[in-house]
């Protein structure tokens, strides 16, 4: 749903690296190199970011759309 706070296996905090990781990978950087530069060394922590899908963004879209419709109704 949303990026886990810590690595499931070792307990290192990985949540705070997610946004930078996602931004840089989207911009075309090599994911492995980004992880290295963020200091995420162990493969248990690396898979946390590599395999994550931020589904909460998809769910939030429904609420955003509903909000837009409500605003449109109020406008007319």
């Amino acid at each position: 749903m949303i990026i886990p706070i810590r690595c499931f296996t070792c307990g290192k905090v990985v949540g705070d690296s997610w946004e930078e990781f996602a931004r840089r990978v989207k911009a075309g950087e090599n994911a492995g190199e980004v992880l290295d530069s963020l200091g995420i060394k162990r493969y248990c922590c690396r898979r946390m970011l590599l395999s994550h899908v931020e589904i909460i963004d998809e769910v939030l879209r429904f609420y955003e759309e509903a909000e837009k419709r409500k605003e449109a109704r109020n406008f007319y």
Partner: protein, 273 residues
Amino acid sequence: MKIEVLEKDERNMRLLIRETDVPYVNALRRIAISEVPCLAIGEVVIIENSSILQDEMISHRLGLIPLKTDLDSYNLPEECECKSEFGCNLCRVTLTLDAEAKEGTRTVYSGELVSENPEIVPVSDKIPLIKLAKEQRLRLEAYARLGKGKNHAKWQPVSKCTYKYLPKIEIYSKRCDGCGKCVDICPRKVLAKSQDKIEVRDLMACILCQDCVKACPQNPKAIEVSGDENTFVFNIESTGALPPERVLAEAVKILDKQLEQFENDLKVKKDED
């Protein structure tokens, strides 16, 4: 016992511990993981939650946020004088959160938690807690208490606490013909070839996997890898709740206390006989 610091920064520490043995080093490792206390949120009162995550999930996320811990001013709940289930100023820290998405979808970060004690704050301000769509709101009060890793992993002050024997690599130059097979196979690039000789480039990186020995075509083998059983490379990575050196110091203290307790128990048994 002799201790040498190989590497140290805010979160990590690598030590070389000489003249000791596995039982002692392993006891320290286990205590650092499961007995050294640190602060974590244990109870959450949700006042308002119109977000799309359930109360339980938010509480769980809050619990996992490592908090900078002050071990000198806080007591473990079971050792606190207040004897209260709810806790007092000496065994509980209150954090509050009031976040609302007024403009549109936004992320709420750990930095928005307001602590009653400015020293006890999340180790990072950038941990995403939740995302709120417009007009959603989250208001809560959370209570952090000291606890031990053996009860819940959120109270574990270390994310890595390991040791290994100090590697010992011996190359018998008489038998070695410099074929370089050991250099190629080594996963940690420990060995290097210079002219027809094999050299140890980075001894500490060796993980004692013995691949180089297996790869050596000579019989008997021209390379031998073993661990020094009385010297350890000890590695601590703190979650940020406590500095790594403090974790180790506490572990030693706790071990001493437990040994003393054990000795007393034995004495009582003897008296009874």
